[in-house]
């Protein structure tokens, strides 16, 4: 099967669908871990778009961008999980609705 024949549009539609799912996940879900997974989904939607465009133009910048995004995402998750652990220790819950000690 020749993957080269898949039109760019398909990739972009998939990418947009992933991005929307991720955004909805962030907005609707209340579990901090699931929210982080949804953010990752959004980043990967952008990655997919980058790779698809890079193939379309035949230049490597898009592919390079994806490497950096993956590295940054890993760093972000490391920090995010550490913060979730710290929150769990003080609040014994990672439900974002419980995080309401700051308001006014």
């Amino acid at each position: 099967m020749n993957f080269g024949s898949i039109p760019l549009t398909y990739y972009l539609v998939l990418s947009a669908a992933l991005f929307t799912m991720g955004a909805l996940g962030v907005l609707i879900r209340r579990n901090a871990l699931i929210i982080f997974m949804s953010v990752e989904l959004m980043l990967n939607a952008a990655n997919l778009a980058f790779v698809a465009f890079a193939r379309q133009y035949g230049v490597f910048t898009g592919q390079l961008f994806v490497f950096f995004v993956m590295t940054v995402a890993a760093a972000e998750v490391a920090v995010g999980l550490a913060l979730i652990v710290a929150i769990f220790r003080t609040k014994h819950s990672i439900d974002v609705d419980q995080m309401s000690s700051l308001k006014g």
Partner: protein
């Protein structure tokens, strides 16, 4: 040597960060020598500032490192300013419990400053994304640094959550920009965005949303009060000043380089955003009981004032934004410094904690006078001159109504700033025994406050040369 000049400040910051972490194990056992870390960081940051000022001044505007960064006066001015703000924040760190003895806190501060320097000079989408993340990730950790404190972890987590979300939106915007042009360099992108179409609008909205979060523009401002309130006070000061300035540096570079033609249609949207940002920030600030939270809302309002200069979109407008950010940062660092000292002495950030402050510590009362009158935009402090330039730029570009909205908002702001001063100067403590409750000001904090007060008075009265620098930075944009 000439090839590394464009990133000399960043290289020095990197070396400093590594040095701090290397020194840390040697001091681990010796508690008495821990304050050395703070002094070392401050001294090194000031040394880096001096070296960069002497050696790394840009001659003109040129792309460097394969087009990744632009070596120009805008980036240079912001970099010098970030080094200064980091040094002052390090001084304030030394006064904050749990931050002052941890090498990690200083390292994260330096790392965030490094990211900001790159943000100010990034000329490529790849570099821009990495710079924004290099700034944000250390700041997430710093906001949640007090890990046994309920409020601090929640602040760090909220900042992280909204930050990650908006940077994903920003990144998606970047991927579409790349898709429609095939380029990632900002100065090449500009050519492709010369005709106005629906795609450009969508992409610009995504990118604007990402950057609006960084500078806390309405409707992406909601994170700021929670994060500032929960974060350690010096960190909140750094977040509300340097981080905001870095966001604005990116914003004005993007808008002048990539979307110059779109601007005619965007100005109105930005003007409405500026109006809403100022008004929402000021009105909610009126109802606050905590000075720290009030300052958070006031910092949202100040993002709105700075935005007026962006809307004006002239050379004067951009110069006034740069000048405004520097003026505002000096003032707000001072205000947060005072909040930190009072918060530590009184254990509270409520307005009532400030009662009789001028009798408890005359110097601190005077610093509060300078900080809050400057925030309110009173002459001869720098807040007045900076507001004047921003409004002048708006009027010059024909945005008279926006300037009027700005002036009206300043009046609202005056009320809540003076409320603080009322507590400081007119109110007494409960038993009128201020003599028995002195507010201790440690030496590093005193140095920081003196430097900031001097800066506010100096730039506020002799603003000519400083505005000249801002004009030079703005000229690099057009």
């Amino acid at each position: 040597m000439t090839t590394i000049l464009p990133i000399l400040p960043e290289l020095l910051l990197l070396a400093l960060g590594i040095l701090i972490l290397t020194l840390d194990p040697f001091l681990k056992k010796d508690e008495a020598r821990r304050p050395f870390l703070g002094w070392f960081t401050v001294a090194s940051l000031l040394a880096a500032l001096t070296v960069s000022l002497l050696l790394a001044r840009p001659a003109g505007a040129a792309l460097a490192f394969g087009g990744m960064i632009r070596f120009d006066w805008l980036g240079f001015l912001f970099k010098m300013f970030f080094l200064f703000a980091a040094a002052v924040t390090a001084l304030l760190f030394m006064d904050a419990d749990k931050l002052n003895r941890r090498a990690e806190a200083y390292f994260l501060l330096v790392a965030a400053a490094l990211g900001m320097c790159l943000m100010a000079s990034a000329a490529d989408l790849v570099m821009l994304y990495l710079a924004i993340e290099t700034t944000s990730i250390p700041l997430y950790i710093l906001a949640g640094f007090l890990k046994t404190d309920d409020k601090s972890t929640e602040s760090g987590f909220k900042y992280m959550l909204f930050g990650a979300l908006t940077s994903a939106v920003l990144l998606y915007g970047f991927s579409l920009v790349y898709g429609f042009t095939g380029k990632t360099n900002l100065y090449e992108l500009g050519l492709h965005f010369s005709n106005f179409n629906i795609v450009a609008i969508g992409v610009t909205f995504l990118i604007l949303a990402g950057l609006a979060f960084k500078v806390s523009l309405f409707p992406f401002h909601f994170w700021a009060p929670d994060v500032y309130e929960g974060a350690p006070t010096p960190v909140a000061g750094f977040l509300s000043t340097a981080s905001k300035a870095a966001g604005f540096a990116v914003l004005i570079r993007l808008f002048t380089a990539v979307f110059p033609v779109l601007n005619a249609d965007w100005s109105l949207i930005l003007a409405i955003l500026a109006t809403l940002t100022m008004t929402v920030g000021n009105l909610i600030a009126l109802t606050q009981k905590s000075v720290k939270r009030m300052l958070a809302y006031s910092s949202i309002a100040h993002a709105g004032y700075a935005m007026i200069g962006v809307v004006a979109f002239s050379e004067l407008g951009m110069a006034s934004v740069v000048f405004y950010l520097i003026a505002y940062a000096l003032t707000n660092l001072l205000a947060f410094g005072i909040v930190g000292i009072v918060g530590r002495a009184a254990g509270s950030d409520e307005f009532s904690a400030y009662n009789g402050l001028s009798r408890r510590s005359a110097g601190l009362g005077l610093a509060a006078l300078v900080a809050f009158l400057s925030l309110a935009g009173m002459p001869p402090f720098v807040g007045f001159v900076s507001k004047f330039f921003v409004f002048a730029a708006a009027v010059q570009s024909g945005w008279v109504w926006l300037a009027i909205v700005g002036v009206l908002n300043s009046i609202v702001g005056l009320y809540y700033y003076l409320n603080v001063l009322k507590a400081v100067y007119l109110y007494r403590m409960e038993n009128e025994d201020e003599d028995r409750h002195p507010v201790p000001v440690s030496r590093p904090a005193a140095i920081a406050l003196v430097i900031l007060v001097a800066g506010i008075l100096l730039i506020g009265t002799l603003f000519g040369p400083w505005f000249g620098l801002a004009t030079r930075a703005a000229a690099a944009l057009f």
